[in-house]
Structure formats: C-alpha cells, structure tokens
Amino acid sequence: MTAYITRRLLYTIPIIFGVLLLTFVLFTLVGGDISIEIAGKGATQETIDEIREEYGLNKPLFLSWDSQFINHFKNALTFNFGRARDREPVIDKIKRGLGPSLALTVPIFFGVVIISVSLALVVAFVRGTVWDILAVVICVAGMSIPYLSFILFGQYFLAYRWGLFPVFFSPELRMAQYVALPVLIGIAAGLGRNLRFFRTVMLDEIRNDYVRTAFAKGLTVRRVLFKHVLKNAMIPIITRVVLAIPFLFLGSLLLERFFGIPGLGYLMAEAINSRDYFVISAMTYISAILFVVFNLITDICYSLVDPRISLE
C-alpha cells in the first residue's frame, strides 16, 4: 500500500509542474504587460519601468537561474504567494474567502448527494412505473435549463418578489440567512444530472442476477436495497463524490457573483477581471494540489470498497 501511495505521489509532481507551467505561460507570456495597469492613470515611462523592476518583470523568462519561471516555481513550492494587486497578502484573501465559500458549497454538496442517492434508490426500485418516467423527465428538464436561469429565477421570485430570502449578501446578516437561497438554488440545479447518474448506477446494479436471487430468497426490499445494491454501487458513487470535493474549496463562481457572497469563487472572478495574476496562480495551484490529493484518496477508497480491485 505504501509503495502504491509513494508511486502515486511521485506521479503528482509532473502534474503540479504542468499546472505551474500552464498558469505561467497563460498569464505571463500571453497575457500582456500588467505593469501599465499597476502604474495607473497618469503614469510615466519611468514609473512603469520601476514597477517592472519591483515585480521582477524585467527578468528573462526561462533561461537563467533567476528567471521569472524559476521564481514562480520556487514561490509556489514554498507556498509564498506574495501580495495581490492591492498589496494585501494573497494568503489572507484566501483565508477570508474560504469560510463563506465552504458555507455555500458544503451544504449544496451534502444536499445534492443525500437527496439524489436516496431518490435514486427509490426510483430504481419503482423503475418502469409512471413515477420513474416522471423522475427522468424532471431530471432531463432540469439539466436543460441553463444554470444562470435557475439563479435568476430563484433570485427574482423567491427573494425579490416574494421576499422569502434576502436578495443579496450583506455583512450584517447571519450566515445562515444569506446562504440559504443560494444553497437551495444550487441543490435544485445540481439534482437533475446527479439523480440521473445515480439512477443509472443503481439500475445497473439491480439488473444483476444476485438481486433477483435475493428477492427470490425472500429478503425484504429494504435489506436488498441498502445492504446489497447500495454497497455494490458504491464504487462509481464514491468516485463521483470524492472527486467533487476539491472543487468545493473554490466556491461556486456563479452563485457567489450573483449573491455577492465574498468567497473564493468571487475572489477568482475578480482576479481574472483585474488580471490579478498573483491571486489566480495561487488559487489554481492550490486547486491542482487538492485535485491530485483527492484523486489518490479516491483510488484508495476504491480498493477498500471493492476487494476485487487491487492497487496495481
């Protein structure tokens, strides 16, 4: 097991390197000169030159020991993310945004998973009946509405028109209040495709012979569903669920933008708009690490849940 883990961890190194390379290339080479923007409105050439000096933008890109890329790489490895465009340390911004983002994504995540897995079990059981077809139709319909429309409809009717929820984030509201509506919308929008997926997985399981045998042997429905079907369907479920976890940390870009929740998704959107390279590369780097780590966890869970799969 440890050998496997070590080998997988070694694999992550080229990937992290790849991510750093990607962010560097994208924003430095192709993105253009940010020093003019930092200099501001009435800037003279000498100010612009000074800025380039300070931010190290006048160093060669790749080919020396002190090149920009090497510095970028070194900084990432030591988790030194520097300061953002407005001179606040990037780490502070990330720490601040983590709370609200998690408060949004974690409830959505749990809500979607719990509801869709449970519903999938139920629907799988009543497959073929009108309920099943109805469920499928609703799912597909839900998948066909653009996410943005969900948000707009929800915000307009539930918050603005009917006043059931606050329309927007406001620092004096309790977190539970301003998070409630976005969470609701997030769950509603995400249910469709997840329910469909889990339903498919359940159905595949149910069609197996051993299920028929179990019913023939006289086991109750509940026992069959929970003890047998669910357990065996766990592999694809776990894969999907665990792989979604890294993305929880990034918040939901759209929901946060719309409801003004000061989380990481909002931070990211702002950073991209204002070309705040430091923030963007820091967050991309962190998300890449998380992704890689959780991939590893997924594989380990795989082997725990299914004895047939050995860690090769």
Binding site: G32, D33, I34, I36, E37, I38, A39, G40, K41, G42, A43, T44, Q45, E46, T47, I48, E50, I51, E54, R83, D86, R87, E88, D92, K93, R96, G99, L102, A103, V106, P107, F110, G111, I114, Y160, P166, V167, F168, F169, S170, P171, E172, L173, R174, M175, A176, Y178, V179, F226, K227, L230, K231, G260, P262, N273, S274, R275
Partner: protein, 603 residues
C-alpha cells in the same frame, strides 16, 4: 457497511456548520450616534500616499487631514486652513510659500510611537504634528520605490524634489531611501513653519494641499508597519480606525485626541433656512462611530436604505420611477417616509474621444464633426441616466468658475443626422474613398457598457457609418489607450479641484499618451494659451483664457462631449447637515443624527 449512520452524521455536521457561523455586525449602544453608509466597491487601502480609488479616499479622509480644506458651506468653493494656521504667505514672485502649522495637533496614539512612559495617563495622543511631517510625506510621494500615484501632482513643481526622486532611483528598495536628505524646496526653519519653493508659479498649489493624498504621515508609522501601513492608518483627524473587515465592513470611532474644531458659523445665503447653520459654533465631530458596508450591487443597498439601515444613497437607475414622480418631485411613497432629495451638479464630463494619431481621424475634421452631429445626447441621457444629467455643450462643467454660461449657443452639441450625412460626403472626399469601419473601444464588458456600445452603433449606423465595438476590461483598455492603439474610445473625468486646469491638461500636446492627453491632440495655439494660463492666479483674465481654450478644443473636435453628471442623493430625515459638496472629502465630522427620529422610523 451501513450507510445510514454516515448520512446522519453528515446531516448533523452540515447543520452545525450553518448554524455556527455568524456574520453579524456590531451591536449599537442606545445612546451612541452612528452614521451608516454604503460603499459600492471595496476599498483598497488606507495609506494617503497610495490612494488609487475614490472609495479609499472617502474613508481615509475622515482620519487624515491635509493642510487646507474647502469651506463646508460657502459657495463658490473656497479654501480655508485646516492643519495650517492661516492661508499661506506668498512671495512677490509667486515662487515661495510660507505656511504656519497649527500647534497642538496630535497624531492618534499608536504602538508605532513606542510605549508610554510608566505611570502616564493614556489620553489617546500620539506624537505632536510637526512641519517636518509634511516634508516627509512629500518626499515619500517622490520616492520612486514607493510607487505613489501622487507623484504626477508634484512632478516638476517643487525645487529639488525631482532631484530627490532621481536619487531614490539609485536606491535598492523602499527601505533604503534616506529621508533626511535635504530638498531645497522643502524647508522647516522651525517645528511649526513650512516653506515651499516652486520652480515656476503654481496657482493650484493650495488645492493640491487640500487633497487627502498630501496629508502628513508619521515616519514612525511607515517604519513600523512597512507594507502593512495600508491597514494601519495613523492620522490626526476626528476619527480613528476601529474595525476593518476587508471587502465588507469598515468602522471608525471618534478620536479622543482630536483638537477642538468647530462647526462653521457662516455659510451662503439660504443655509440658515435649510437648517445647515443649526449647529453653528458647536465642537465637531458629532458622531461617535462611522460605519461603511461594502455592497457592490445596487438593489440590496437600496433595500437597506428603505429599511432605514443606511442613512443616504444614490437612486439606482432601475428604481428611478418608484422614487421620482413627475416634475422632479419625490413620489408620495418617498415623502411618507420623510426622505429628502438633494441634487447637485457633479463637476464631470463624459465623452467619446478620437485618437488623433490615427490618420482616419487626425486629418479628417468633417468626419469628427459628423460623428458629433450623429449622436443623440438627449436620448442617451434618457435611456441610460433617467434624464437626470445635463447635456455637455462644452468641455467645462457648470460647477467650475470658468464655465461659460453661453456655451450652449455655440451649438457644438447638436443632434442633426442630416447635417452629419452631408459632412460625411465631405469626409469621404478627404479620406479618398468609402470610410472604413470605425472601431470603438469601451472599458467594460458588463450589460451597461454593451448597451452603451449598441447605442453608439445605432446612432452611427443611422447616418451611414459602420462601427465595430470592442469591449474589454479596464486594465486591457488602459493599456491599449496608453499605447495609442485605439481609434475611438469612451471615457470621462470628474474634476477634483474647482479649477478646469486638469481637464484642459488633457489637450496639451506635451502630455500625449501615456500621459493624460489620450487623444494625442496637438494645437500650438492651444499650447501657448495653456502655458500662459498655467502660471496665472485665478481671476477674470484666467477664466477668459480657459474659455478660449475650450472653444479651440470644441472647434477642432478631438472628442465628442456627451454629458455632465447630476447627482441625485436621497437621505433620511434624521441625517442632518448633509450639504452636497463637489470637491471635499472628510465631511462626516459635520454630520449629526437625530437618534430619536431614527429609532422611531418604521419600515
């Protein structure tokens, strides 16, 4: 493995997370006077030398005081001393200004001043303000390592300061700069006297010294906090920082070390009736706390205002009809809530500018004029600004002393599509063929800008011109404009001083991009008059010259001027002493709340 316990645990965890998080704001004590405001963007920092956005200035100006300030009530706008004892003594040749500093002004108490001697009583006072602090702040602005945006104010103005800047270029980092180096134009013969020597006459010096950006900063604070000084303001003003939750909430409290300052006893005619002199002669500030909440969307801020949680607000474009009835009056719903409306002319101008360096425009005056005739300014103001703004018939906005009341008759802002089409025929001849598709660059990608772009396109298409819009974010836009790679661009400017100098500087040929002259416009006659007026003190002759320059610009048409802003502000009945001021910041010290009225307000 049974799934149910896991489900149960996760549900409980989720519930705990949600319930446990509490983002509520501070509680108010019943007898406290608290001002509640909303900012529509995040503030970036509270260091006067590094103010890059107006929101930071709004907050920082309550804590930092410059030498001069604008009189709160008197109009036309005039400067009065704030940290200075008096208006400066100016030498005959207009080059030397002798300024006396008030005695007994203290920086707020702060760890950067070291620990107190044992046994002394804490009185909130840090160190006393000295003339040297002003010199330090100016040197800091000149320090190229510090990258202050204020340098453009002082560039090439004070004797010896540019040499100091050259010196700082040789230093390795900001901390290496030796501030004790002498600058011949900034001397302090004693602790309370400051002498500034200029290179050539600069009539707007006092206005620059009324800018929060030139407020004195304690060297101890800069040394102690380094880069973090943006979140540790140490000022002399009536308020001090209490809480700052970045990106959402900032709170200032009364500064116990603030000296005695009084509310003005004189104003302009009409102030007494309006209630602005009710507090004449009383010591300021009145408020115990000032609070700003950052809410970037208009709608929620509006709702908070209606609920009485915010004292004043602008009217969101989409709620205009529920606020304003016909004839510029408030609707009954607003009057019922005892909400007041104040309007004032914002000294700003917005335009569509041409890059004269592009041969398509630079040599083709009929084309530029045609575009000016093609744009329906009235419709623009109607669709985008609820008919609130004024059409810009010229460059200089009405608030300025040099505004020409007869500018409308000159007829530079007419909407005449037929005339435009005629002019286009001429333009084609000059161009030597069919006119190419014009490219218009706008500094934003949101709905507002896209609709703006579409509006311009429709106007141009209606006279037979083809146009293509380019939307980009601000940084890219600035880069393109600064590198002269745009054809037509939209922009605007809001004057910060009651002198049209800054607006006119945008047409001075020495300031081509990346300087303020983004139009890359050159006119030797204009330049001559500009240089002459630059060193004149304000007066009828100077205004005459300003108006002449304005007419030259209007005739040459390097830009099509669209509108001047008019601000409509609403405030609640309990918010006293709110008189709109076009240039001053730091006015929270004058505001007073009628706490009884606010408590009685029902939504």
């Amino acid at each position: 493995m049974s799934v149910r316990p896991i489900l149960l645990v996760t549900i409980i965890c989720a519930a705990l997370i949600i319930a446990g998080c509490d983002g509520s704001g501070q509680l108010e004590e019943p007898n406290e006077m608290v001002l509640h405001h909303v900012l529509s963007a995040k503030i970036k920092g509270l260091d006067p030398g590094n103010m890059r956005d107006v929101y930071s200035v709004i907050v920082a100006s309550q804590m930092f005081e410059p030498l001069y300030q604008y009189h709160f009530l008197k109009r036309p706008y005039q400067l009065v001393p704030l940290l200075a004892e008096d208006m400066p003594q100016i030498s005959e040749d207009l080059l030397t200004y002798t300024i006396k500093i008030k005695k007994g002004v203290y920086f707020q108490d702060d760890p950067c001043f070291g620990s107190r001697p044992a046994g002394s009583v804490p009185d909130g006072k840090g160190r006393e303000l000295k003339a040297e602090d002003f010199v330090f702040s100016l040197k800091r602005a000149a320090n190229i390592k510090y990258l202050s945006p204020n340098w453009s104010i002082f560039d090439n103005k004070i004797a010896g300061l540019d040499e100091f800047r050259e010196y700082t270029k040789t230093c390795k980092s900001e901390a290496d700069v030796d501030y004790s180096r002498q600058v011949q134009g900034l001397t302090t013969p004693d602790d309370y006297t400051l002498i500034i020597k200029l290179k050539k006459p600069w009539p707007q010096l006092c206005m620059a010294l009324a800018n929060t950006a030139t407020a004195p900063v304690a060297k101890e604070a800069v040394d102690y906090y380094g880069r973090d000084i943006i979140s540790h303001p140490v000022g002399t003003g009536p308020f001090r920082l209490n809480v700052w939750r970045r990106g959402s909430y900032i709170e200032l409290v009364r500064n116990p070390a603030f000296r005695d300052e009084l509310y003005p006893s004189v104003g302009e005619p009409g102030d007494a009736e309006a209630g602005y002199l009710d507090d004449a002669g009383k010591p300021i500030p009145f408020a115990d706390r000032v609070v700003w909440t950052t809410i970037e969307e208009r709608q929620p801020a509006w709702l908070l205002f209606l609920q009485g949680k915010v004292d004043a607000t602008v009217i969101p474009k989409d709620n205009f009809d529920e606020v304003m009835g016909g004839a510029g009056e408030l609707t009954p719903a607003m009057k019922q809530r005892n909400i007041h409306l104040k309007t004032f002319n914002d000294p700003s101008t917005y335009w569509v500018g041409f890059n004269m360096a592009e041969p398509v425009f630079g040599k083709n005056k009929p084309l530029r004029n045609a575009i000016s005739y093609a744009i329906d300014r009235a419709k623009f103001i109607e669709l985008f600004f609820n008919n609130r703004h004024l059409i810009a018939h010229g460059l200089i906005p009405p608030v300025m002393p040099s505004y020409n009341p007869e500018i409308k008759e000159k007829g530079y802002a007419q909407y005449d599509p037929e005339k435009a089409q005629e002019l286009l025929k001429e333009a084609e001849k000059i161009h030597g063929g069919k006119l190419p598709t014009l490219k218009i660059t706008l500094p934003g990608t949101n709905t507002w800008y896209r609709q703006y772009g579409q509006f311009l396109k429709r106007n141009l298409n209606a006279v037979g011109l083809e146009a293509e819009m380019e939307y980009m974010d601000r940084p890219t836009y600035l880069e393109k404009v600064n590198t002269k790679s745009v054809q037509i661009f939209t922009s605007g400017s809001s004057a910060r001083i009651p002198d049209a100098q800054d607006l006119l500087a945008m047409f001075y040929s020495r300031y081509h991009a990346p300087g303020p002259n983004k139009f890359n416009y050159s006119n030797p006659e204009f330049d001559k008059i500009y240089e002459k007026a630059q060193v004149m003190l304000d007066g009828p002759e100077k205004r005459r010259l300003y108006r002449k320059m304005e007419l030259i610009v209007l005739e040459d048409c390097p830009a099509v001027f669209l509108n001047h802003r008019v601000a409509y502000v609403l405030h609640h009945d309990w918010y006293k002493n709110y008189k709109p001021h076009a240039f001053a910041f730091g006015l929270s010290k004058y505001r007073r709340i009628d706490t009884a009225k606010r408590a009685a307000y029902k939504n």
